[in-house]
Amino acid sequence: MSIWHLILREIFHRKLNFGLGLISVVIAVTCLTGAMTLLRAHDLETDRIVAEREAETAQRMKELEDDYRKMMLKMGFNVLILPQDQNLGDLYADDFASHYMPEEYATRLANSKIVTINHLLPSLQQKLKWPEQQRTIILIGTRGEVPLLHRDMKKPLLDAVPPGTVVVGHELAQSLKLSKGDKITLLGRDFTVTTTYEERGSKDDITLWIDLKEAQDLLGKTGQINAILALECECAGDRLAQIRREISAILPDTQVIEFASQALARAEARNRAADEAEAALLAEKHNRAEMRSRQESFASILVPLVVLGAAAWLATLGIANVRSRLAEIGILRAIGVRGSQIMLLFLQKAILLGLVGGAIGYLAGVMIGASLGDVVVAENGLWAWDPALLLMALLVAPVLSVVASWIPAILATRQDPALALRES
């Protein structure tokens, strides 16, 4: 007959004692695994929220980037390439360059291997009196973007204005009551209005855009332009010097000016948005970390208390079990069962109690933790299955049970068989 045989028979005989012990182990392990599952749920939820916020931020930044790109388009251009001899004071005073350079410069730039510029728009601009309307206007001749041959094709920011058509600035359209399809005459040539712009609050509102070739003809500047607009150039910070070096190497008799305020404003706005997004993310992380810390503190008090309570209860049940088995222990000792075997009788039972209680407690703790954890990311609850936690439960519970049963087991071992037999 083995010790296990005796243990199992005794368990089935004293079901209440074993059941009460089992409940206490289950409660202790449930608290432990439940608390750990809740913390794990919290971590998972934090990861999910942070990933979501990061994705939102990335998306928002992408949208901002696109917004700024469009705003930049409306606000003007990053870099203006002008003839070398253009006086900037005159440029700012007259709103257009008074010196000219060959249109071929734009082609030369486009055919070069320049890397700091993404879009090129050659133009011929001039402020003039519109004789047919007796209005001062700015006339801009544009051929649209010159494709950069060595680069992948990018979506054009500005389309060309087809010959015979005109794009009208807001103020001119309003005051002259022009709309799409209307016919106008400029310097003796007829044009059809294809677009009227919304109000921009700048000189664009008194500007007419026509085909570059037609503008050159009207202004008597065949093959000439007075500015090349470079869009979306990577000109923030000290890269402007690089752009200037690159352009001057290709077009030595030109100068480059930057619309610094727009470029920096864009970068600053983008940085501020990024900072705010980062701050929001950090605040969320901080908030989650504080919540976790509170949960952890609560668990670090509750779990040891429950475990201690369970251990005390187990010890009490163990002592009661020993007292109710004095005669049995006495006769076992009398017929030659050794003290070490009596000890094993109680400790092996404690191990069995711990293993069963640990397994049940693990399942209960995981289920409770999973249901209270409110984890959105995994609906099937498989996230809560943690073999390491199960292993811990199956180690901790028997250890707890054995420690709690140690004193009763010692009492049983030291029980004087003669006394036990005589008293019973």
């Binding site: 017929i335 030659g336 070490s340």
Partner: protein, 235 residues
Amino acid sequence: MLLGVQRLTKQYRGPDGRVDAVSEVSLEVDAGHFVAIRGPSGCGKTTLLLAAGGLLKPDDGQVMVEGQNLYSLSPEQRAQFRAKRIGFVFQQFHLVPYLSVLENVRVPSMAWPMENAAARAQELLEMLGMSHRLHHKPDALSTGERQRTALARALLNRPGLLLADEPTGNLDRENAEGVLQFLTQFAHDGGAVLLVTHDDYALGFADRTIKMREGRFHSASEEATDETTNEANVS
């Protein structure tokens, strides 16, 4: 000599100081003999029996079983020796309540593993007329059946010495006779039986009876004059 008790003394602490439960008692029992010790409750006969079985260390004197001084052994060795060579039967039976009859009889094999313990247990139970009760729990047995189960348990490991403490105390005459006849048979088969009792009926089965009072032996012939002798030989 199978059992030899030499000048055994055991004292207990009482409210008025130390009390001699057994005082300088000597006893020898050879194989094949059935010795009964008779005396009133509290005379020290159970103390003597427990000490003779290696369960109660005496304050003085020694106990030899089959030439082995029991109290020169460690507790673990003494337990092993008991498991192999000594069988116990008690008035209260002390059956393990959650084991069946057959399992109760097999319990000593836990202390001293033996081959075919189940077959031996079944054989003993059949000899004792318990074959129809093999799988019953003790609470389903009559007192006579319980004592026969306890007797079978005591004999599982084929001990040389059988110590019986009031084995018939809770039995009716018929069951008591059955148990006592079995003890007699055990002695006739070469074992040694030491029975302590206050039941006069049991004395008729013993080869020799020793009267005990206040921790000492009294020979039957000297009982009338109240003279005592603390040496008893049975051979």
